[in-house]
């Protein structure tokens, strides 16, 4: 933890001047504000100070205590609590809440302990990956407001979820998948055991009664595998047949049903071979692939959570008499007057009534700096008032807001995304149709020639040509690729993205938050008075430490010297800071403010200026900080022959600056989400396959509409929910590597398909002519599937080897 320079609790830089201290375990630590001190002291009081030792990331800065208290009071209103609290047995109630700020296991521990210590709370379950907590309390001793207050004091913002969300669909899906997987796993294990007895018996001689016994037990363990674990395949097949398509599930379901039915018939009539082991293994392998895919999808989050987090749940309505009243956002009507405090979210779209305020619209427009709004300007729901407070008149609520519009755009773009009909799927479906035809022909042919052999030969055709190799060719390669990529920190949410990734020609980047960090950095200092050369930055930083403005933070972070005492510090909203250092009155901010109105120097419009009564001391030029690895990533993608482009909602000068620094020639600025989507459509109609990389809410429509969408793990939920691939660790340089692996996967996939086809073309005529005994068919089938799986395991090997070679090489150079 960066405790030397930052707050002990939340890790933010410490303000200059009065330093707030907190004493934990006998040691004194500096904290940035009273909110953090309250949180830290309270955590210690509960005997939970271990949290600081165990956590892996600093905590979230607690909200302003007064503001938090007001928001909690809103939940005591029965209209609001009704939606989220559910009766739970005798005198108990339960609620599920989404908890923001859960970052590691220490958080889970802290929440469970803190809530558990509350009297009346009977059960607390926190799920870190879903960021959800389920709390049950006794009505007589506790209340929702108390639970929320406890969480807020610990530093977590909790959002009670709608009662409808209590039955979590994702949880149900994941549990069903796990159960299916374990049934298939156990079944495959046992069936294999009995089958090995049968195989050995076939060579050493086994009496018929023992053989039949083993077969019946094989049937016993394979039946739940087929009828329980393989249900998703049958359901999928039925679904795609209803939609009049031959999806991947159709051949799979057909293969499972055929092998199982054939084995059953063979077992009943005492025939030559049964394949209960094959069918169980087949189902198990396929389910493993599906399970991995589902895990990746769940980790990427879903749309409804993302929305719940964006819009504030309550608003402060201004009554006729001017008094403030907390109401739920759903109760707001057009024409209401609403008060928005500093640091809170705007609840609905509307016009500003107060003179001026500054809002952060970064999430919506991509603009990196907060925007100053004057009376009459439009405020957008979901943006945050950074300098306020503001009063506004509500104009649009609910589904009419700009935010809801963006979400609708996302949904529409995702639905309209051109899904490449998967080549593998089509091939497999066509193949199945042909095999069935051949099987029918064989049956007819043999029943004319020698009816006794008709069944064996037909079965041989079906088994030897078993679509297993075909059905496994694609999933085996994709499953392996997903695992390889996940190990590198690239989370594939939709497996078909791998196929698309290999074929992209264009990459469209968002700027803010994707290519650049959210923060600013000091580019250069222009000192205009020679005698102040040493001091200029230190003086500016001394003033800047008192503010949370991003510009001030960048200046404070750039200064390395000792801090100076500032007195009489004053922040002028929208302009800058003023204070007295060593008896000198200094101003820091926009040039006209720093010079007290008259701007004499030209060329300082964009700079932050430090001045005293005698004039300008220095000008600080700030620029956006490039994300680490962005330059390397861009170079690698260009070397790969891709066309790169920046599409940003930010101002043209800032976009041009970043583009120039990264060596990207094409860029577009001031784009709204719909413009970005248009740009994408233009590119695609020109034949380009586009990958979009973004992180913000304003990127979500573009992500949903691109061929391949990549979101950063640190980005917003909405972006992640509408993406195909999530980059963990925000490492852009993984993009080129991921593309390499995708290409390799596609090569292997094609090899697998060719192999399966070749094998089948070779074996089928013999089977149809009756030359292949069922046991040989079974071996052939297993071997062809095994080949496909082993071939898939080669994916990612090459990358590891070249990476190891690269390491050795770089060492040799060093």
């Amino acid at each position: 933890m960066n405790t030397a320079s930052g707050c002990w609790h939340c890790g933010e830089p410490l303000p200059a001047g009065e330093v707030v201290q907190v004493t934990i375990d006998g040691a004194t630590h500096p904290v940035c504000c009273h909110g953090c001190r309250a949180a830290a002291e309270w955590i210690e009081q509960l005997g939970l100070a271990d949290y600081y030792r165990l956590r892996s990331q600093p905590a979230v800065r607690p909200a302003d205590p007064a503001e938090a208290a007001r928001s909690r009071a809103a939940w005591t209103r029965p209209e609001m609590a009704r939606h989220v609290v559910r009766e739970f047995g005798e005198g108990s109630r339960e609620a599920i809440m989404l908890i923001e700020g859960v970052r590691c296991s220490a958080c889970v521990w802290l929440i469970e302990r803190a809530l558990g210590a509350l009297s009346g709370v009977s059960s607390v379950q926190v799920n870190a990956s879903a960021r959800r907590a389920r709390v049950v309390w006794r009505k007589s001793e506790c209340s929702l407001a108390q639970v929320l207050e406890t969480l807020a004091r610990t530093g977590y913002r909790a959002l009670p979820l709608d009662a409808a969300a209590l039955d979590d669909a994702r949880k149900r899906e994941s549990r069903a998948a796990l159960k299916g997987l374990i049934v298939a796993g156990f079944g495959a294990m046992q069936a294999m055991m009995y089958a090995s007895g049968l195989y050995l018996g076939a060579f050493d001689g086994v009496d018929t009664s023992t053989r039949d016994l083993l077969r019946w037990f094989g049937l016993l363990v394979a039946t739940p595998v087929v009828f329980y674990a393989a249900r998703p395949f049958f359901a999928g097949a039925v679904r795609s047949l209803r939609a009049r398509a031959l999806g991947m599930d159709v051949p799979v379901a057909l293969a499972i049903a055929l092998i199982y039915a054939a084995s059953l018939i063979e077992a009943l009539r005492g025939g030559a071979e049964v394949y209960f082991d094959s069918v169980s293994m087949f189902v198990f392998f396929l389910l493993v692939g599906r399970y991995l895919e589902m895990r990746a999808r769940h980790r990427a989050g879903d749309l409804s959570d993302a929305l719940a987090r964006l819009t504030p749940v309550y608003a402060e309505r201004v009554g006729a008499d001017g008094a403030l009243e907390r109401v739920g956002v759903s109760e707001l009507r057009t024409g209401d007057r609403v008060h928005v405090g500093e640091g809170s979210g705007v609840p609905a779209d509307g016009a500003l009534l107060s003179a001026r305020c500054r809002v952060d619209e970064a999430l919506l427009s991509g603009e990196s700096a907060p925007v100053t709004k004057c009376c009459g300007d439009t405020l957008v729901a979901g943006s945050i008032v950074v300098e306020g407070p503001a009063q506004m008149q509500v104009e649009h609520v609910g589904a009419d807001t700009a935010l809801a519009g963006i979400v609708a755009l996302v949904t529409r773009a995702a639905a309209a995304r051109p899904r490449l009909a998967q080549a593998g799927e089509r091939a497999a479906a066509g193949f199945v149709a042909r095999v069935l035809m051949l099987a029918v022909l064989t049956a007819i042919g043999w029943s004319l020639i020698d009816p006794a052999r008709a069944f064996t030969a037909t079965l041989a055709v079906l088994v030897v040509s078993c679509p297993c190799a075909f059905a496994l060719a694609v999933p085996a390669a994709l499953t392996r690729a997903i695992a390889v990529l996940a190990r590198r920190g690239v989370l594939v949410v939709r497996p078909d993205a791998i196929e698309h990734l290999a074929g992209i020609t264009h990459v469209v980047f968002d700027k803010t938050g994707t290519l650049t960090d959210p923060g600013l950095t000091l580019d250069r200092v222009e000192v205009l008075r020679a005698d102040e050369r040493e001091n200029a930055l230190t003086l500016a930083a001394a003033l800047a430490r008192g503010s949370r403005h991003p510009v001030a933070r960048a200046l404070a972070a750039a200064a390395t010297g000792r801090s100076m005492q500032v007195s009489d510090l004053r922040a002028v909203a929208g302009d800058g800071l003023e204070g007295v250092v060593y008896g000198r009155r200094l101003r820091l901010g926009r040039v006209d403010f720093a010079l007290g109105g008259a701007s004499l120097q030209a060329g300082l419009d964009d700079a932050v200026v430090l001045a005293d009564d005698k004039g300008v001391i220095a000008a600080f030029h700030l620029c956006e900080r490039l994300r680490s690895g962005a330059r390397a990533a861009i170079a690698a993608l260009v070397a790969d022959g891709l066309t790169l482009e920046i599409a940003s909602g930010d101002a043209a000068s800032r976009v041009a600056d970043v583009a120039q620094r990264l060596g990207i020639t094409q860029w577009r600025a001031r784009l709204r989400p719909a413009d970005k989507l248009d740009r994408l459509a233009t590119l695609r109609s020109a034949g380009a396959r586009v990958m979009a990389v973004g992180d913000g809410i304003n990127d979500a429509p573009v992500l949903a509409g691109a061929d391949v969408a990549v979101a950063l793990a640190a980005g917003t939920e909405l972006a992640q929910a509408s993406s195909d691939i999530v980059l963990a660790g925000e490492r852009l340089d993984l993009l080129a590597e991921a593309r390499g692996i995708a290409r390799e996967t596609l090569t292997i996939l094609r090899q697998n398909q060719r192999w399966a086809l070749g094998y089948n073309l070779l074996a089928m005529p013999f089977a149809a002519l009756g030359f292949v005994p069922p046991w040989l068919a079974a071996i052939g089938m297993s071997a062809s599937s095994l080949f496909v799986v082993l071939n898939a395991l080669r994916i990612g090997r090459q990358g590891e080897r070249s990476r190891a070679a690269g390491l050795v090489g770089s060492k040799a150079v060093a």
Binding site: N127, A128, S174, I182
Partner: protein, 61 residues
């Protein structure tokens, strides 16, 4: 080989037992979060003084 008639049903009974136990575990939240619970015992400080400072006297470290 008659022993098989006893051994195999026995193994199947065990299998069913394991399956039932697993289903129970899935239904009782045992697989919902695979990371946190493993860390929780490490975090638990077995000092009763932490949670009830007045009830037990402070112990020397």
């Amino acid at each position: 080989m008659t022993i098989l008639i006893v051994m195999i049903p026995l193994s199947i009974l065990l299998l069913i037992g394991a399956g039932v136990a697993f289903f129970w575990a899935v239904d009782n939240d045992q697989f919902d979060d695979m990371e946190t619970p493993g860390l929780l015992p490490l975090l638990d400080n077995p000092q009763p003084s932490d949670l009830a400072p007045s009830a037990t006297p402070e112990q020397a470290p």
